[in-house]
């Protein structure tokens, strides 16, 4: 048994990479992940990445902001310290629309971005799990788990025929740890 952990097909062109994905999938070879320097629309469906639920989360974070502000203002201006301003109602709703709106946006944005960072494991100082250093520059990289897919020669051939500029056999998963 060889020590190869991952096979990387490094493409110079996104369309060729898409051909690569198609060919691998036609041959029932499972793809571990794909690393690209820019978003490639449509590949998430091919690779079985589920639809994002961040929009739903964002809505609830926003609503939380709305409720927080309205409750807070109510407590401050009606319950805790009502001020009589010319006999007007204590809870002057139209006056609180701008701040309620701002807090809705604030909660929504922070909640959304926080959930995004949490769900994709992004945080300051995280050790980057990079398989190919050029995947953030000019290469579109398909990573295949070598242990799960035994036919290494066939994988190489499929990747090359799709237009891969380079096929790497990595014995370590993440080269960025070196």
């Amino acid at each position: 048994m060889s020590n190869i952990k991952y096979i990387l097909g490094s493409f110079g062109d996104p369309d060729e990479m898409l051909t690569g994905i198609k060919k691998l999938q036609e041959n029932n070879i499972s793809i571990y992940d794909v690393y690209t320097p820019m978003p490639i629309h449509g590949i998430e469906a091919k690779l079985g990445v589920k639809r994002s639920r961040l929009d739903i989360a964002a809505f609830f974070f926003g609503i939380t902001g709305t409720i927080t502000m309205l409750t807070g203002v109510y407590l401050a201006t009606v319950v805790d310290w009502p001020v009589n301003i010319g006999g007007k109602t204590h809870f002057a709703f139209p006056d609180f629309v701008p701040i309620t709106f701002e807090l809705t946006i604030l909660f929504c944005a922070f909640g959304l971005v926080g959930s995004y960072y949490a769900s994709t494991h992004l945080f300051p100082g995280r050790a980057p799990r990079v398989m190919d250093l050029r995947a953030t520059d000019d290469r579109f990289v398909i990573a295949i788990d070598a242990k799960q897919n035994a036919e290494h020669d066939k994988i190489d051939e499929l990747l090359k025929s799709a237009g891969a500029l380079e096929v790497k056999h990595n014995e370590r998963k993440y080269i960025s740890y070196e």
């Binding site: 320097p37 990445v49 964002a58 401050a76 944005a109 980057p128 520059d137």
Partner: protein, 490 residues
Amino acid sequence: MAGHNESILREPLITGKDITYARITEEILSPVENKPNKAWWIGFILALCGATLWVVSVGYTFWFGIGAWGLNKTVGWAWDITGFVWWVGIGHAGTLISAVLLLFRQNWRNSINRSAEAMTIFAVICAATYVVSHMGRPWLAYWVLPLPNQFGSLWVNFNSPLVWDMFAISTYFSVSLLFWYTGLLPDIATIRDRATGVRKKVYTIFSFGWTGSVKTWQRFEAVSLILAGISTPLVLSVHTIVSMDFATSVIPGWHTTIFPPYFVAGAIFSGFAMVLTLLLVVRKVLGLENYITMFHIESMNKIIILTGSIVGVAYLTELFIAWYSGSQYEMYAFQNRISGPFAWSYWLMMTCNVISPQLLWFKKIRTNIAATWVLSIVVNIGMWFERFVIIVTSLHRDYLPSSWTMFSPTWVDVGVFVGSIGVFFTLFLLFLRVLPSIAIAEVKMILKSSSEQSKMKLIKEGNLDKEHVQEYIESLEKFDSVKQEEYAKI
């Protein structure tokens, strides 16, 4: 997407031959990865002198109090609020470009959004320093926050636009920062993967471990779109609330319902002018002509004509309503603006904001870099005077003729304002050195569909309507980064 061809009638967003993904990275990162050139150092030293002036002037204000400024009993708000509103206005272009233009799928935003957002953040920082420094007792700045306390009247006045403003500006700043930073992650990762040694360690921390896997990118785009959706009303709300600082008061000349839309249009107008002032220099000095093309410049100029004209209409509407309202005080405020002792500033504002941007209707001027640059500075001057006119001329002749007076700034007023420009440029120039000034990933996205080379390939393949090709080639004439000889052959 990659395999999709864009209509030949659309002008290219990336010009030049043999642009590859590697070359995009190389060219955009060259100011970050190499030592700065002479132009950068000259700019940086000048900006640093300005920033020092700011520290001195603000320090002087803190030490001696607001009395150091030229304010008097009648004019209690002048250069400080003028400067504040001016900076907040400038800070509107970045989020407008990144949010509104994203929602409208305007791909030309891709190469200008990064620096425009950075500019937004620095402009809002400058605005925030005004808020703190005009408080008189800046060490009590946290009193604007609705904190439970034991001081007496307990809560901030939630009915006051000044409190709304605090919420608006802080939300706007933090949301813009999030938007900007999230967009920066892939590009910081690009720098990280090319760097070595200490640089690599630093960029590793700031890249948050970005890898560019499918799920991260897919979620990234979802987040960008939602953030754009919520930032769009946010941008509009911020200057609306700033305008309410004035509009909800009962001072003639301020108490008008047209203020919110008029301020928002003015903010976009001045923001785009500042983006042009900066980017026209940046593209030249950093050699980014292929990414920030004449199409980008012309598009921004078109937005300037539109918003400038809205501002012009608003000025005229204000005058009409002052007369039509039948209110003597309102009418006098405007008569005084037009022909009173500060008439020079009113007419300077009119010339800079209403008349001179109309020159951009001429294509020759709109596509001339030097003319555009000069006009963008004229607009910035005009917009500063707009706020000066609104604030000072409404105050200096109040209800009692015995308290009528003039306003003249002291050196501290001037120092704080000129200094804030220095702070702004210091931050912007540092940004150019440590972070990519163009969103690398986003430019790569449009390389295969909207670049000059991809369109050239389409033309060479044939199969296109001859008239369309002709029209496309004619549209390229204005580009300073396109070699015409290539097209003469076709």
